[in-house]
Symmetry: none
Subunit: 239 residues, 4 copies
Amino acid sequence: MPTQAGTLLTSQSLFRCPPPSSHPTRRASAAKEARPQELIDAALELFAEKGFAATRSEEVAARAGVAKGTLYLYYPSKEELLKAVISQRLSSEIVAVTEYANAFQGSCEALLRDVFTEWWSRVFDSPTSAVFKLVITEVRNFPEIAAFYRAEVVEPATALVGEIVERGVRSGEFAPVDVRGAVMSLVFPMIMLCLHKHSLGACAPATDMMEPHAFIRQHVELVLHGLRAHPTSTAGADA
Amino acid sequence: MPTQAGTLLTSQSLFRCPPPSSHPTRRASAAKEARPQELIDAALELFAEKGFAATRSEEVAARAGVAKGTLYLYYPSKEELLKAVISQRLSSEIVAVTEYANAFQGSCEALLRDVFTEWWSRVFDSPTSAVFKLVITEVRNFPEIAAFYRAEVVEPATALVGEIVERGVRSGEFAPVDVRGAVMSLVFPMIMLCLHKHSLGACAPATDMMEPHAFIRQHVELVLHGLRAHPTSTAGADA
Amino acid sequence: MPTQAGTLLTSQSLFRCPPPSSHPTRRASAAKEARPQELIDAALELFAEKGFAATRSEEVAARAGVAKGTLYLYYPSKEELLKAVISQRLSSEIVAVTEYANAFQGSCEALLRDVFTEWWSRVFDSPTSAVFKLVITEVRNFPEIAAFYRAEVVEPATALVGEIVERGVRSGEFAPVDVRGAVMSLVFPMIMLCLHKHSLGACAPATDMMEPHAFIRQHVELVLHGLRAHPTSTAGADA
Amino acid sequence: MPTQAGTLLTSQSLFRCPPPSSHPTRRASAAKEARPQELIDAALELFAEKGFAATRSEEVAARAGVAKGTLYLYYPSKEELLKAVISQRLSSEIVAVTEYANAFQGSCEALLRDVFTEWWSRVFDSPTSAVFKLVITEVRNFPEIAAFYRAEVVEPATALVGEIVERGVRSGEFAPVDVRGAVMSLVFPMIMLCLHKHSLGACAPATDMMEPHAFIRQHVELVLHGLRAHPTSTAGADA
DNA sequence: AATGAATGAGGCTTCATTCAT
DNA sequence: TATGAATGAAGCCTCATTCAT
């Protein structure tokens, strides 16, 4: 039986995942301890590009530079590999933002600006950006992914951003908007940017779009302006 | 002769699609002329739910209430059905918004507010909302979809919204933002709402999210506020 | 139930066949009494061209100018149609040669020359030539065809030609060859000519072959010369 | 890498065919290098028996002693397998006769006698005899086969035999016949013998036919006698 | 550990045949 | 009679997974 990679049901990795590299410090690219990561990277690229069902496991192995059978020494099935891809990538990012935000000193506005223009910009540029497409594409086929993603990504992230906005509203820095909506106004375009990068944006002759990082900055400013103002009509519409 | 589903390469429908039912009297079912639409509806649901590759053509047929072979009387392959699904749904919507906007009288702000809270809200509630997920998921596997979507949806839509914003900027109603970015700030969250509805949002125990229509209204107001203001920092960030 | 067309096990038609035209004299091409023959003609062409298994029954119907379902009003299945094609065509030809030969007056040589250059030449030019390919192709899949063909074609034909040769041998006109072999020497090339016409010969850029009718004449003369001579070496080889 | 079955467009094999086993040690079976040949052998038998379209690829695999999927490791499709069957078998035979004839010393008559009674007799007894049926049956469905067969078999073979006859005619050993016709007179019955073996001849209760090898000898003598003589009547018939 | 040949379940598509009109 | 829409069994081929080397 292959390296069975026990199922963890806790936050860091809901799914089966390979044993942590026994020597996490020494990982030469061609060495076997790097395999799990190489496989995950290859899988992320391919799953995000073609979809899980349309990706052959042999392709993943090939892109990772190993033979078909080798994949099964590390992950018991294609599906477990998918789960590993998602949990591994996102878990580490969540840890990263949380630390980033906790370490921050300054106004709510400055913090939000920072989180998006610094941290999210990096996510956008990294392979992690592909995970959003993967999640959106595959959640409905794999309920475990939904549970994991909600618990490990959506909740911490909305909590994080939500608390900042909340604080701003309470301090009078922001107008009294629906906080959950404000979070969506900030986050949704960021995710869409990632999705676009891996869908239409990856198709040949790109239309002239605003440059992503510039858009991130402009969008954050736009929303911050809006937040500082008084969104009266919404309140009116609700009434 | 079967409803031959010819290939149109012009704007209205890039892909094979059956001619409109000659007898628009929409009888319950069992009527031959209703088949193409029934198949498209079934296919949209399933492709959006499970993905194109993971949906068996027999499932589509079953959901449309016909046998496996019947599907092939109307569409020559699963792939052509996919293209028909996308082009048929989006083509009609694009025509709809354009007419909607052209018929509108009023300020830029009012027009934008209207387009999103009226028209987009309806799209969100309709099955068409699923097409966005489908496009994002499948463009990279089917280049024709990319071409069609860009030409028939992205371009007209950004042109439409862009022109409204542009007019606002020129008239001094809006601050001098990057118009393309403003369009993205408005549209991206709308698309995300649709994507969410058909991905995480469709998974069992929904998190407490802001109610979609309320969010649309708040988001539009937020951005309009922002647009009216002076997005100085962006300019500064670019410098 | 379709015009069941009883199964005749006697010589004229071993297989199920449609009722003989009720008015064999009056047959307008578009009239329904002509259907069975039109279907048989279409089927012969297509079966010979593409093979039985590779020919769709709808194609046969189309070439006969009727709809798919109509075929089944005349023949209960594709297989029965095949049998009808073979038996109908060959039966009439066998009757024809036999009458031809019986009516003949003259030397064995003259009779053989005549049978091949007159009668075979006409068969070669007629659609019946395709039946040989069909029989060779399909006998092993349909044992009934083998039985029919042997009884109705091979035996009468070899008997006919064999008796002529036999007579020549006994009268001293021909050398004492193996009569069955002489028949094969005469008949095999004729059949090959038909097979070639419907296989390689039907493919685009024909090689320069001897003109078929000229070949028939030359071949018959060649063999007749040989028969008049003394095939000593064969006798020697057998001994 | 699987025995990749490259496509050769040159004379020896127009179609995809696997490279010759690198390890000619013919172990019983279960040896990977033997697969291509085993599949070709199985395919030849079945295609010749039932026809290409009527043979299921799984049957071929089963007769070769492997599973369905294994076939596709060696040939990309059933059609490519067909082409491989034909080209592989015939290519080697053509090489064989040519060498045989070139090595021969003796009169034209002796050479012809030899080629047919020695070489052709062996072909008749070998599985290659089935290829003729296959070619006749399938050429019209696969144009590539026609091109290959004409170039690689018909032309070399008629050239070979034709040159011998030609020489005989020029030296006065033979009467001035149409050489192409003489070749047909010699070759056609040989091919028919092969066709018969795999069609009617393979059906249960064989009629009493002359024994094939004896027929070959008698036929060759018959034709040689005829060639030595003066085919005057043909000339007369043409005039 | 790594490989890749082999397997066979499963999906797409075709087409003989039926049957309501 | 004639039609052609509908059916579903059956065939080709793919690919996740196994396992002997």
